[in-house]
């Protein structure tokens, strides 16, 4: 049990040491989207970005209104 715990702890330590390296590896691996971006895909992604910006804008607006006490 203690030995298993030690092995687990060592694995966790190793993970935290290499966490940034792993994220960098993931970014590198998926740097280029595999899906061919045709017109409809590009429009969908653009609309998605605009939609998310709209939601973020709403949340910021709500946050400012809450701070002002309205």
């Amino acid at each position: 049990m203690i030995l298993q715990l030690r092995i687990l702890m060592r694995q966790y330590r190793r993970f935290f040491e290499g966490r940034f390296r792993k994220i960098h590896e993931i970014n590198k691996k998926y740097a280029r989207p595999r899906l061919v971006v045709n017109k409809s895909t590009a429009i969908s992604l653009l609309l998605l970005r605009l939609y998310l910006l709209f939601l973020v804008g709403l949340l910021i607006f709500k946050f400012i209104m809450t701070l002002r006490g309205k």
Binding site: I26, Y30, V36, L59, K62
Partner: protein, 422 residues
């Protein structure tokens, strides 16, 4: 061939088909019944108490909606052998990948907190302290996964799914008028006209029917179960059966509260259980048991959806078929999200109402992205081959997705600005 031989052949054929279905079924039924989670039960109970049987038709309409969305995850998972998070990274690059993964993790964790709120509230009715509920739930969920077998987990989860059907006898016990249900509930109608309140209820019911974690969960479950392309027809039936039961349970909850609690303001399913106990002790007790089960089902699926997604992206071993020492990170994330969400519920004065509202808002930031990516990935002929979306499938799924996005966005806006629709 004589008649006996023909009958025997048919019997063997049906038996074989049934056996095959029982082997392949699971992810669809589990995800759909887990969709009726603690928040969902509250929504249905409030719908029944506010409008009686009048909105049953809308719940029935949600059956094809849920089926079409989840069926796409089955095809994508079976063909690509990848979970949704990994598929987004691969198909759309790291920006959308990280966005989806981090958003999913946050939504899942917040949803898990709401499941614990439901479970502790349900067991408080039986005088079980929240601390014991949280510890008990964590232990049972730990036991379910440490077996190191997907099959064991799935069969235990299916038992909890069966408990979710407890609302069906509940409805019979309150002796509703079948003619009233058919007259008021089947034909589309808006009692009191199409006003802001009814619009809020429609949005809430849509919001509980399709949640982002469901897309990620079912696709990962299909991959973990090692389902192949040839299994897609059976998985479709599995998803259809699940959709049928999720709507059936929702309708029966509406029937219970619509019969007994019509006109009473209901804020939570636990409150509905207490009110019902005053009228019929057994029905109230069943409702409370059902609420706990709903929260539990939701919790087991939501926590797994996160663990699978993170494991896929980071390339760690991420399967229920591995033991803890073989997939330490997969299980570490599973237990970390589970225990931390449980602890939050136990903190005195924790902003639980704000968390419940926040879930709706954050879920809406992820849901459109997850659904749009789903449709785009299913149109990739290179990967999907003959399983890519056909034109009719694209028309139906795009219409459904646009409808869900519009209604869930309005639901989130109503959560941010509660006075906007009143």
């Amino acid at each position: 061939m004589n008649i006996f031989a023909k009958t025997f052949y048919e019997y063997r054929r049906i038996l074989k088909a049934l056996k095959l279905f029982l082997m392949i079924s699971g992810p669809g039924i589990i995800v759909m019944l887990a969709d009726n989670d603690a928040g969902g039960i509250t929504t249905y109970a409030a719908t029944g108490s506010s409008y009686g049987y009048n909105l049953i038709w809308f719940l029935i309409l949600l059956l094809p909606v849920a089926y079409y969305v989840q069926e796409m995850t089955v095809r994508l998972g079976a063909v690509t052998k990848r979970g949704h998070a990994e598929a987004i990274f691969d198909g759309f690059g790291s920006f959308w990948g990280w966005f989806s993964l981090l958003d999913l993790f946050l939504v899942d964790w917040l949803t898990l907190v709401t499941e614990f709120i439901g479970m502790t509230a349900a067991l408080s009715i039986f005088h079980i302290p929240p601390c014991s509920t949280v510890i008990g739930v964590c232990c049972i969920m730990g036991f379910m996964v440490i077996q190191g077998r997907y099959w064991t987990w799935e069969k235990i989860a299916l038992v909890f799914c069966a408990v979710n059907l407890i609302y069906i006898p509940c409805a019979f016990m309150v002796k509703p008028s079948v003619s009233d249900i058919l007259r008021q509930g089947i034909i589309p109608n808006f009692p009191g006209g199409f006003n802001n309140q009814i619009f809020f209820f429609l949005m809430a019911n849509i919001g509980t029917t399709i949640a982002p974690w469901m897309v990620f969960f079912q696709q990962s479950a299909v991959v973990d179960k090692s389902l192949q392309e040839k299994d897609i027809p059976w998985s479709r039936i599995d998803t259809l059966v699940g959709s049928f039961f999720t709507v059936l349970v929702a309708v029966f909850i509406v029937v219970v509260t619509g019969t007994v609690l019509k006109g009473q303001p209901i804020n939570s399913a636990a409150q509905a259980s207490l009110e019902l106990m005053k009228i019929n002790k057994h029905v109230g007790t069943f409702l409370a048991i059902g609420l706990f089960d709903a929260g539990f089902l939701g919790a087991i699926c939501v926590s797994l959806a996160s663990s699978w997604a993170v494991g896929e992206v980071f390339g760690w071993a991420h399967s229920l078929n591995y033991k803890i020492k073989e997939a330490p990170w997969f299980y570490a994330i599973y237990f970390l999200t589970l225990i931390s969400a449980g602890v939050v519920v136990l903190i005195p004065g924790a902003p639980l109402v704000m968390i419940t509202l926040f879930v709706q808002v954050i879920a809406v930031t992820l849901l459109p992205a997850a659904l749009v990516f789903l449709i785009l990935l299913l149109n990739d002929e290179k990967t999907m081959g003959k399983f890519k979306n056909s034109l009719p499938q694209n028309i139906i799924s795009t219409t459904i997705v646009l409808g869900i996005i519009a209604l869930s966005t309005l639901y989130a806006i109503s959560a941010i600005f509660p006075n906007l629709f009143t």
